[in-house]
Structure formats: structure tokens, C-alpha cells
């Protein structure tokens, strides 16, 4: 939970933090989410507060767990070519294609900066 947890990044504290414009902008760029209006931002604020409750748990001396699979064996595959050669199938779902290339919009369209 740590990596995407904004609460920790914003600084832990019992007092609800206001989400600054810079943070909001950064989030919108990273996640391509549009918080749109003050109601959206308010909802984000509440979500952070809700998640912050995790900090109530004392985790001193406890190693973080990434996954319940952490003690499983990571399977190693032999270096053989077993897949591929299915261009037609892959392109079937593409809305637009040009000579076996997928077509995407040009580069990353820069999002307008937020004002507030």
C-alpha cells in the first residue's frame, strides 16, 4: 500500500491535509484522472483520510508484506521460443492499424496546467 499511498507522501498527521494544486496536477498527470471540480477534489481528500487510518496500526519492527505469495517459489522458465507469430490475431482488436502497426495518437498530449 505504501507506494501509491498519497497520505504518507503528503505527510502523516491526524489533521486532514489540504491537497495542494501542485499535488493535484502531478496526480492528474501520473494517473490520467480528471478530478474536474471541487467536489471531485473533496472526494479525493476524503479518500486520503480514509486510507490514512492504516497509520493507526503500530507496525514498528514488522517487515512490510508485498503479497501473500512472498514465500512461494518463483518459477523459472527455460529460454525457448514458444509464442509470438500471431500478428493477425493481435491486430484484430485494434480500431486503427497501418500495415501491421498499431496506431496511437501522436506522443503524449500534454494536459493543460490546473489553475485555482
Amino acid at each position: 500500500m505504501r507506494a501509491l499511498c498519497l497520505g504518507r507522501w503528503l505527510r502523516t498527521g491526524r489533521v486532514p491535509q489540504k491537497v495542494s494544486v501542485e499535488v493535484l496536477d502531478h496526480l492528474e498527470h501520473l494517473a490520467l484522472v480528471d478530478f474536474r471540480d471541487s467536489e471531485g477534489v473533496e472526494r479525493l481528500q476524503k479518500a486520503i483520510q480514509f486510507a490514512d487510518q492504516l497509520h493507526e496500526v503500530n507496525t514498528d519492527g514488522v517487515e512490510p508484506m508485498d503479497s501473500v505469495l512472498e514465500d512461494r517459489c518463483l518459477y523459472l522458465r527455460e529460454d525457448d521460443v514458444t509464442e509470438g507469430n500471431c500478428t493477425k490475431e493481435l491486430l484484430e482488436n485494434a480500431r486503427e492499424k497501418v500495415e501491421e502497426y498499431f496506431v496511437a495518437p501522436p506522443g503524449n498530449i500534454p494536459l493543460p496546467k490546473l489553475e485555482e
Binding site: 507506494a3 501509491l4 498519497l6 507522501w9 502531478h26 498527470h29 501520473l30 490520467l32 508485498d66 503479497s67 505469495l69 512472498e70 514465500d71 512461494r72 517459489c73 518463483l74 518459477y75 523459472l76 522458465r77 527455460e78 529460454d79 525457448d80 521460443v81 514458444t82 509464442e83 509470438g84 507469430n85 500471431c86 500478428t87 493481435l90 491486430l91 486503427e96 497501418v98 500495415e99 501491421e100 502497426y101 498499431f102 496506431v103 496511437a104 495518437p105 501522436p106 506522443g107 503524449n108
Partner: protein
């Protein structure tokens, strides 16, 4: 550490440039890092793509054993500590050639850390003065390559080919211990040679198998490091040196003119956007001590086993060449710098009586310059090692002179299939073996050069060379200069 201080353009306080490198080396493997599609340069678009590479729902990553071994080999060769437990993470960002919206990498705990790489620089471009430097390796991590985007600006679209998506990469992070383009280039060159020797990557920059990003900053001595910028899209080692030096100069000028350095790409680096890869448990590696008793052999990677089988690294190969053949250290560098040249040299030495110390001159001065002139690799050489060895044998047996040998080599270079002996006979290049005939010619020259003879008898030995030259001319270069000198000296002292 950065020892070179760039003197400022206008004689102001000196600047210390600082250069770090992030190098992505494509792993040499048959299939990709997490899927079974083929790794190959230049194939029809989207033909080497599996459902997982295309990020279709329901697919899962399965780690390729060979890629792990490649990373372990590289880590060991770079004196790293191999992490017996390393983790995989997802790094999220949006780009058309990253269909999953994230790249699987090793951000938290990579497979290898804390290594070092030694490389050599020539001082003042003199190969005889070489200095060894070291750069620290921060870490090596396994990660996926992305697909390729072709930007079509006229039609306002991007064409995406996923053949490269998912190919295994080793990211090698070098600490900012370098101070200029030359050091960066030398470090990358040595890394390239190491990777090629290990076989963990073919590291051909032109084919995108080795990509280098340079981080550059400047600061005044005693002050904190300056803002760093990233130099990307470098596709040759020579350009790397130029680009780094250019950026250093640019920053110095900017700062001296009162400007500031802007960092545009660091948004990528933010600690957000990472999460553990939930579909992959930790990667566990073993050594001789920790080897589990009852595990399937194929599922176990033993670091010690790999260590024992590492080939000789370039630095070791060079030492052995110097020791075994008595050549100079700078010779060993040139030998290893050219693909196949060291093997060619050793092959020639095996087949000739000429001492390696002497033969090396023919390899490095004559053969190599021919190859360079015609842009040929050693493998493409029209002169094979046996042909060259035959030629050197004729020279060694004093059947031809050194000048004649060069002539023969020029003829051999045409690759018409003639042997050195045949060429010697054709062009009548054999040294005169008849002592009497030679003596007569020497006498004739002495008789015809009264002034020179007097000078020599008066003590001016240098004039003797002129007489030797005349004898050479009269014999069409077919006389052994050493023998001629002896004969002349004998006659002159009579």
C-alpha cells in the same frame, strides 16, 4: 572521483564537471524476460509479440531463467554483491509503446549492487601513457524493454511495434565518478567489451542493444553538486563523448552568464507510480552453501556455479597476452579493441617462427591499417592468418627483406589467391643469396663514391647509410641491409 577541473571560459572560479551513466543493455537470449516470444532485431512489425507482451487481460509474467543468469554473470564480472533475494516492481507511466501502462522493473531491491568497473584512458592520446580509473556501479536491475514508436507527424499519429516490448534489459547504473566525455566513453567501451565477453549482451549500440543516458552537472570546488541534466538518445560511443562534453560546456556557459540549469526529465523519477509486482514472488538465488537439497535442478540458480564458469574478462585477457607474448600493454588494448584481432594474432604466432614481439608490429601496423582503410572487420580480411604467417616466415628466414615483405603484403591484400612465395617469385623479390655477387656490387658502389668513402674513413659513419642505400638500389631492394653494412664496413676497413 572527479579530478579534472574545467577551467572556466573567462578565467573565473574553476568548474568541476560530474558525469554519471544509466546504461540499458539488452540481454542476449532467445526469448523475452517474461514471455516466450522471440528476441530478434528487425522482424516484421508485431510478429514477435505474445498475448502477454500485448498486455491482453488474463496473461501473467513468467521469468526467463537465462535472463537471470545473464544478470548474475554481469553482476559478478562487475564485482557486485549479488542479492540472494531481489524483488520485482511495477513502474507506471503512460506511453503508447507500453501497453500495460507499467514496466516491470526492480526498483526496491535489484539483483546486484555495489560493484566497480575499471577502465583505461590514454593521456594526451598517447597509447604509451595509460592511466587506470574506476567507476562505482550502484546497481544492476532486470527490467522490461518497451515497444517502439514511429512518429508520423504528417498524419498526426504514432505507429507502434511491440516486437521489442518485454525484451529483457539489464540496467547498469554508474555513480557520478566520471568527469568528462572521454571518461564516460572509455567506461562504456570497457563495459561493452565485458558484456560481449560474457555473452550476456551483444551490446551493439547501433542496434539499440546498448543504450546510454548520461547525467551531467557542474559545480565549483567545495560547493554542493549542481542541477543535473540528462543526455539521451546516444547511439555511438564517440557521440557519447561529444554529447557529454557539449553539455558540460553548455552548462558552464549558461551558469557563467547568470542563467540556471533546468531539469526537464526528472518528473519521471518521482517516487510515485511504483508498486510491488503482485504476480511475481521474490527472486531467490543460491550459492554452494545455501543450495537446497531437494529442489528441481532447473529451478535453482547457483551463484557460485556461475562464478566458476565466468570466462576471462578483458582485463585478464590483456594481462595474459602481455605475459605470454611479451607485447606491450598498449598492444594488448588494441588487440582486444578489434573484434577477432587477438585470435588472429595468436593464430599467426602459432604458425610462424617470428617472435611475437616482432610479429605484433605486422598485425597492428600493417594488417590493422589495411583493414581500417577498407572498413573491413578481421573476419573479412582477405589475408588469412596462415598467409600472413607464411609471409613472416619468409622474412624471418631472411629470404626477403622487410621492404619486400610489405610489397608482398600489398599484393596479398588483393586477395587473388596467390601465396607469399608465389608473389616473391613473380616479382623477383628474393634476397640475393650469392655472397660473391653482393660483394661485387658493394665494391662497385665504393669505387663509384670516392667522396663518401673519404668521409666515412674520416669518421662520419652516417654516410655509410647512403652507400647501403645505393647498394639497395642497384639490387632492386633485394639485398639484406644488415649483410650489406657488414660487407661495406669490411671493405672500407681494408
Amino acid at each position: 572521483m572527479a579530478a579534472v577541473v574545467a577551467v572556466a571560459a573567462r578565467g573565473l572560479a574553476p568548474w568541476i564537471p560530474v558525469v554519471g551513466l544509466e546504461i540499458h543493455a539488452q540481454i542476449s537470449s532467445n526469448s523475452k524476460l517474461f514471455s516466450g516470444s522471440q528476441v530478434q532485431f528487425a522482424a516484421p512489425p508485431n510478429s514477435l509479440v505474445s498475448f502477454f507482451d500485448a498486455s491482453l487481460p488474463g496473461t501473467l509474467p513468467v521469468l526467463n531463467r537465462r535472463c537471470v543468469e545473464a544478470a548474475v554473470m554481469t553482476g559478478l564480472a562487475l564485482n557486485c554483491s549479488i542479492n540472494k533475494k531481489s524483488l520485482f516492481d511495477r513502474k507506471h507511466y503512460f506511453y503508447a509503446d507500453l501497453p500495460a501502462g507499467y514496466q516491470i522493473t526492480q526498483q526496491r531491491v535489484p539483483i546486484a549492487v555495489n560493484g566497480s568497473l575499471s577502465y583505461t584512458l590514454c593521456i594526451d592520446n598517447k597509447m604509451s601513457q595509460m592511466v587506470t580509473k574506476t567507476v562505482r556501479i550502484k546497481q544492476i536491475q532486470l527490467e522490461q524493454d518497451s515497444g517502439k514508436s514511429l512518429h508520423d507527424d504528417t498524419r498526426c499519429q504514432t505507429l507502434v511495434d511491440l516486437n521489442r516490448a518485454g525484451v529483457g534489459l539489464m540496467e547498469v547504473v554508474m555513480e557520478p565518478d566520471m568527469c568528462c566525455g572521454e571518461e564516460a566513453a572509455a567506461a562504456v567501451r570497457e563495459l561493452q567489451l565485458i558484456l560481449q565477453t560474457l555473452g550476456s549482451s551483444q551490446a551493439v549500440m547501433a542496434e539499440g542493444q546498448l543504450r546510454v543516458d548520461a547525467n551531467v552537472s557542474v559545480h565549483h570546488p567545495g560547493e554542493p553538486y549542481g542541477v543535473r541534466t540528462e543526455v539521451k538518445n546516444i547511439n555511438s560511443i564517440r557521440f557519447l563523448a561529444k554529447a557529454v562534453d557539449y553539455e558540460i560546456q553548455r552548462q558552464i556557459e549558461e551558469l557563467e552568464n547568470g542563467g540556471t540549469i533546468l531539469n526537464e526529465t526528472r518528473a519521471f523519477d518521482s517516487k510515485l507510480g511504483f508498486m510491488p509486482e503482485p504476480n511475481l514472488p521474490p527472486l531467490i538465488l543460491y550459492d554452494a552453501k545455501s543450495l537446497p537439497a531437494n529442489m528441481n535442478h532447473q529451478q535453482v540458480i547457483n551463484i557460485d556455479w556461475i562464478h566458476e564458469r565466468l570466462p576471462d574478462l578483458p582485463s585478464v585477457k590483456r594481462e595474459k597476452l602481455v605475459e605470454q607474448y611479451g607485447i606491450l600493454p598498449e598492444h594488448s588494448f588494441t588487440l582486444l579493441n578489434e573484434d577477432g584481432l587477438a585470435e588472429f594474432f595468436e593464430s599467426v604466432v602459432k604458425q610462424t617462427q617470428m617472435k611475437p614481439k616482432k610479429a605484433i608490429g605486422w598485425i597492428l601496423n600493417d594488417l590493422l591499417s589495411y583493414l581500417k582503410q577498407h572498413s573491413l572487420t578481421v573476419k573479412e580480411s582477405p589475408v588469412s592468418s596462415s598467409l600472413l604467417a607464411d609471409l613472416l616466415n619468409l622474412l624471418e628466414k631472411k629470404e626477403i627483406s622487410s621492404t619486400a615483405a610489405k610489397q608482398v603484403l600489398a599484393e596479398l591484400w588483393k586477395g587473388e589467391g596467390k601465396t607469399p612465395l608465389e608473389i616473391v617469385k613473380e616479382q623477383k623479390l628474393e634476397l640475393l643469396q650469392d655472397q660473391k655477387e653482393l660483394e661485387q656490387i658493394c665494391q662497385a658502389v665504393i669505387d663509384g663514391q670516392e667522396n663518401e668513402v673519404m668521409a666515412i674513413k674520416a669518421g662520419n659513419r652516417k654516410v655509410l647509410n647512403k652507400l647501403i642505400g645505393l647498394v639497395q638500389r642497384n639490387t632492386q631492394g633485394r639485398s639484406n641491409p644488415v649483410l650489406v653494412k657488414q660487407l661495406l664496413e669490411k671493405k672500407l676497413s681494408e
